[in-house]
Symmetry: C2
């Protein structure tokens, strides 16, 4: 089973990398960009076909390893 | 207008970071994980409301800055 886990910074957490990207896009001539915030995506392949079990497992992975839940939110999507 | 750009490694490109994550998950007790591949996600806020124009602009941003098109694929999604 395939799943996609998306980890993004929580609102209010500063994102200097995103700010740098806005700057770089501006110097490339792209204007009208309000903001950019960068996150991570993990494409996970799991054995088995138990959807509910897989979702629970993926959430546990996020809590323990994939996301820093102090500053990041995560979402799990089964494909 | 909000958009999400997802940048992932092309098939066949080695992902040592993903392999490290599989190893780390294994040592945390998560088994049955076939593979993990890590990518990036950019949440972009654009001025204006021209959807077609925004999509063209976002694709140009990917080609020029956000993705390394030699080894990465990108997808653009308007929210």
């Amino acid at each position: 089973m395939k799943a996609r886990v998306t980890v993004t910074l929580k609102n209010g957490v500063l994102d200097p990398q995103g700010k740098a990207i806005v700057g770089a896009l501006g110097s490339l001539g792209f204007d009208g960009i309000g903001s950019v915030r960068q996150g991570k995506v993990f494409d996970v392949e799991l054995d088995g076909s138990d959807k509910a079990g897989a979702e629970t497992k993926l959430k546990a992975m996020c809590e323990q390893l994939l996301a820093n839940t102090v500053i990041e939110d995560y979402s799990v999507e089964l494909l």
